[in-house]
């Protein structure tokens, strides 16, 4: 469950970093705060991976998962930016729900 939460938080973080760039989303967002929030979420996601698998394995899982999530966001989000926003909201809700369930 920690892995799923971490993955969802990573997804939200990566999507925010991607969406912070001007012109990528169908609406304007404050560039620096959104990017900063994204980076903070990406870093914070490490907590769930470490809690689930220990420091060494958790750090490896975080790194590899970041590769996966960032590639997915970078390649899929430009195709359907509105769907990417919806998916980010869903991932955020999922992360909260999983954390409450835990």
């Amino acid at each position: 469950m920690e892995f799923a939460t971490g993955l969802a938080v990573l997804y939200v973080g990566a999507a925010l970093v991607w969406g912070a760039e001007p012109g990528r989303l169908p609406f304007a967002v404050p560039e620096r705060p959104v990017r900063l929030l994204g980076v903070v979420l990406i870093a914070a996601a490490l907590r769930w991976f470490v809690a689930g698998s220990g420091a060494i394995v958790g750090a490896i899982e975080w790194t590899i998962s970041l590769s996966f999530v960032a590639s997915t966001v970078a390649l899929a989000a430009p195709l359907r930016p509105r769907a990417a926003v919806a998916a980010t909201a869903c991932a955020a809700l999922l992360a909260v729900a999983l954390e409450i369930a835990r």
Binding site: A14, E21, L66, S67, A74, L79
Partner: protein
């Protein structure tokens, strides 16, 4: 100074491009099969189909009669149920290796009748080629070289282009963006797999080269430092008493708490000085935890062990390389992430070829470029088609068909070869790719349907789901061929 920098940049670009072109298709094969290799046990459960519940039969009851009957071969028994019973194995004699399974009802040895996971495992390490294992190490090294040169030539642009993918732009830009995004964001994954693969496959060669210089020619000592343990026991030349194999396996588990025994091997079987080698790829609670325990069969004394608690730095590094490469430290979810990244690695290679060919659009009529394009299509679409044919053949061929595993090999390599020939046909490239993808989609779907038709099995549901996902993706990709036709990769051939 600027000229020198420019020259260095282009030298690195050429090294990156040529390394990719020369090794790309083989690396594509290794990445594609690597995604499957991560799920070996799941594939094994899937390919053997519905099994009757096995009769309780200890390792001793299965192994001892076989060892006594064929003393002329080297036996290796694969264990199931945490080391409680024999599920299969291999016997080696005069360089020939035969694989077998154990009938769960009778306990009899049965010639292996399906080998989906083993065929893909062998292809991942290029075992089908002479010295293929070492060759795969050199290709791993080529991957590392391509990664390092790719990072250096794009170093200044990485921060600004890290997540930049512009699907609406010209095809050449789309391919370049995709190549850069997957290559840079996937860097940790690529680097870990390139390095660990190289260490695993070239390690034995490097060890031999270093044995004389560093260890005074003592090969055993060199291997021990890396965690490969030996028991230098001479045969007594006469039979003697020994403990039952189940008791010996229990002692190995006691010596290395958390050990999950995976296979056993024998040194001097039947002799008074018999040694049992117990190996497990996982040790519960240890991230990099494979272990080997060598026990004296007569009294169960531990002669040597490579276990997480007692490893030196060299053995820890070796264990970490294996664990990172086979993701034995993680559960299903992280293995799935790795598998998707491995398929992403395939996309990096194909997009790299697209970029390379696009840069040579001026020479698109040249024969080598046309051949290369056909080879890329033949392997890029042909290998998934061949793999789908392997899965479908595993379900469709009669269970008692003579030389059944051979036919499974024919299904994979024959279909792949036929697809490559088709890619050389004087037909529009987009039609060739669409046809190959449609055929692949149909075969992936057929494999899943044939398996489900034999009865739903929870342990096979994950593989069936993956087969359906491959089918849907293949059909979707084939429907996108009219869009992809805009790509320079295709335009180069369309003329």
């Amino acid at each position: 100074m600027a000229n020198q920098k420019n020259r260095a940049h282009w030298i690195l670009w050429d090294v990156h491009a040529w390394t990719g072109v020369v090794s790309g298709l083989v690396l594509y094969v290794m990445f594609f099969t690597g995604a499957f290799v991560l799920f070996r046990s799941e594939l094994r459960s899937w390919s053997f189909g519905p099994q009757p519940p096995p009769v309780e039969r200890s390792v001793e009851e299965t192994a001892a009669p076989l060892l006594a009957a064929r003393a002329d071969v080297a036996w290796l028994f694969e264990l199931g149920d945490d080391g409680a019973r024999v599920i299969g194995g291999q016997m080696r004699a005069r360089g020939q290796r035969d694989h077998f399974t154990i009938d769960g009802r009778s306990g009899a040895l049965v010639q292996e009748w399906t080998a989906v996971e083993r065929i893909l495992w062998h292809l991942h390490f290029l075992y089908q080629l002479p010295f293929g294992f070492y060759l795969s190490g050199f290709f791993g090294l080529a991957l590392v070289l391509a990664i390092v040169t790719g990072v250096v030539i794009h170093w200044r642009n990485i921060p600004s282009q890290l997540l930049r993918f512009r699907p609406g732009r010209a095809a050449k830009i789309v391919w370049t963006d995709a190549h850069k995004v997957l290559g840079t964001v996937g860097l940790p994954f690529l680097l870990v797999f390139g390095l660990t693969g190289t260490i695993i496959c070239l390690g034995p060669l490097l060890l031999q080269a270093h044995t004389a210089a560093t260890f005074g020619g003592d090969h055993d000592q060199a291997e021990e430092i890396l965690g490969f343990v030996h028991a230098d026991v001479e045969p007594a030349g006469a039979p003697g008493p020994r403990l039952p194999y189940d008791a010996l396996i229990a002692r190995a588990k006691a010596a290395v708490p958390g050990l999950e025994p995976e296979w056993i091997r024998f040194q001097h079987p039947g002799d008074a000085n018999e040694v049992l080698n117990v190996y497990g790829a996982r040790v519960r609670g240890e991230p990099f935890g494979h272990a080997t325990v060598l026990l004296r069969a007569a009294d169960g004394a531990v002669l040597a062990a490579n276990a997480p608690a007692t490893r030196g730095p060299g053995a820890i590094a070796t264990a970490a390389a294996f664990a990172l490469h086979f993701v034995s430290y993680g559960g299903t979810a992280i293995r799935l992430v790795h598998a998707l990244l491995a398929l992403g690695g395939c996309a990096i290679i194909l997009s790299g070829f697209a970029v390379w060919l696009a840069r040579r659009e001026a020479a698109r009529a040249s024969r080598p470029n046309r051949w290369l394009l056909s080879l890329v299509i033949g392997t890029g679409a042909g290998l998934p088609l061949g793999t789908a044919a392997l899965f479908a053949a595993s379900r469709a061929l009669p269970a008692d068909l003579p030389w059944r595993v051979g036919w499974e090999n024919v299904a994979l390599f024959g279909t792949w070869f036929a697809a490559t020939l088709y890619a050389f046909a004087p037909l529009p490239r987009r039609r060739v790719m669409r046809d190959l993808l449609l055929a692949a989609g149909a075969l992936w779907g057929a494999a899943a349907l044939l398996d489900l038709a034999a009865g739903f099995r929870p342990e096979a549901a994950g593989v069936d789901l993956a087969l359906v996902a491959f089918a849907v993706f293949s059909f979707w990709l084939s429907s996108r061929m009219h869009v992809a036709a805009r790509a320079p990769l295709l335009a180069a051939q369309e003329g």
